[in-house]
């Protein structure tokens, strides 16, 4: 039995994987798909920065969900490039915030 209180990272990861799969499929164009993978990486980079002083295990599960969705959608294009672009996006998003180039708000 799935309980939201305990299993919320897995549930959100599942939803995010569906969303990322849908987004990559809808983009249609292969290049746009790769660009979107990078952009989603940027979002997770901001989240990685946001949770820098807390446990990131839940965030890693959600990120893996997103990556899985993209990998399934773009599997026959170039799965290695998907992983690389996603990680580069996360790293760049984190770096931009860590260095203080951008000061963005949460809410």
């Amino acid at each position: 039995m799935v309980e939201f209180e305990n299993d919320w990272p897995d549930i959100i990861a599942f939803l995010v994987s569906l969303l990322s799969f849908f987004v990559a499929i809808v983009s249609g164009n292969r290049v746009f798909g790769f660009v979107i993978v990078f952009l989603v990486g940027l979002i997770f980079g901001r989240m990685w920065f946001r949770f820098r002083s807390e446990s990131r295990v839940s965030l890693v599960i959600v990120m893996l969900g997103a990556l899985l969705g993209f990998l399934i959608a773009l599997f026959f294009n170039n799965p290695h490039l998907v992983v690389i672009l996603f990680l580069v996006g996360v790293a760049f998003g984190f770096w931009v915030h860590e260095k203080g180039f951008i000061k963005s708000v949460e809410f």
Partner: protein, 247 residues
């Protein structure tokens, strides 16, 4: 003829503008990043982009964003607050993702958040002053209102034949789109601050501005009066169905 008190207030306001109006370094950086992204999104059509469109869009976006931010800053200073605009990273990236998914059909142009800080030294003697939801909402509202007035002003000049249509039309369109997106009730956009302040006022505003935009898009009618009426209807419907009976 101004009274002495009013002249002092005007001087005080000008002094505040000189001291606090301009953007900080981080705000300028955020402004530039947002302008570049929005210019890309605005000029991205049918999955293509052309350099000429991009440059024209960049100029338009810079002007419209500046009007939005300046409106908020001036109103904030008038009410005794220093206003700061910050970047909303998720909104910025979401605007790019939406543009790519929709091949440029969805132009989401909202990626800034507003914050107000009290100018203590300038409000001594005022009664019960300080930041509150109402003042915060008023400052946030000043941005979209400035955009709508600015766009309408140029549109009217073009209608009177004293300003070229090929400049006025894009300015008008972009101003409206920018104002409409920023009024969405998604934190930290301007609309969310207005919603927190007053749900009924937000209903009025949402009805008025959405009807104004829809009348232009579908009927080619420019009418503040009808927009106001639709706003009142929206307010009334919201009151009857959502607010009535809530204590």
């Amino acid at each position: 003829m101004f009274s002495l008190k009013k002249r002092m207030t005007w001087r005080n306001f000008l002094d505040k503008v000189k001291r606090y109006f301009w953007f900080s370094k981080s705000e300028i950086r955020a402004f530039i990043v947002s302008a570049l992204v929005f210019a890309f999104v605005w000029s991205f059509n049918n999955g293509r982009i052309e350099l000429e469109d991009l440059l024209v869009s960049l100029v338009l976006v810079v002007v419209v964003m500046f009007v939005h931010h300046a409106g908020q800053r001036l109103w904030g200073l008038k009410r005794g607050f220093r206003v700061e605009q910050r970047l909303w990273w998720y909104g910025l990236v979401a605007s790019l993702i939406l543009a790519f998914i929709s091949y440029g059909r969805i132009k989401f142009l909202a990626a800034s958040s507003t914050m107000i800080y009290m100018l203590y030294g300038h409000r001594l003697g005022a009664f019960r002053y300080g930041p509150n939801l109402k003042e915060f909402a008023a400052v946030c509202l000043a941005g979209p209102v400035a955009n709508i007035l600015f766009g309408t002003f140029f549109k009217q000049l073009a209608n009177m034949g004293v300003f070229p249509v090929f400049i006025a039309d894009p300015v008008f369109k972009l101003s409206l789109v920018f104002a409409a997106w920023n009024l969405l009730p998604i934190p930290p956009l301007d609309g969310s601050r207005i919603l927190y302040s007053s749900r009924l006022f937000f209903a009025f505003l949402f009805g008025a501005i959405s009807s104004y935009v829809l009348m232009i898009v579908f009927l080619n009618v420019y009418s503040y009066v009808f927009a106001f009426l639709f706003g009142v209807i929206s307010w009334f419907v919201s009151y009857v169905f959502f607010e009535k009976g809530i204590s």
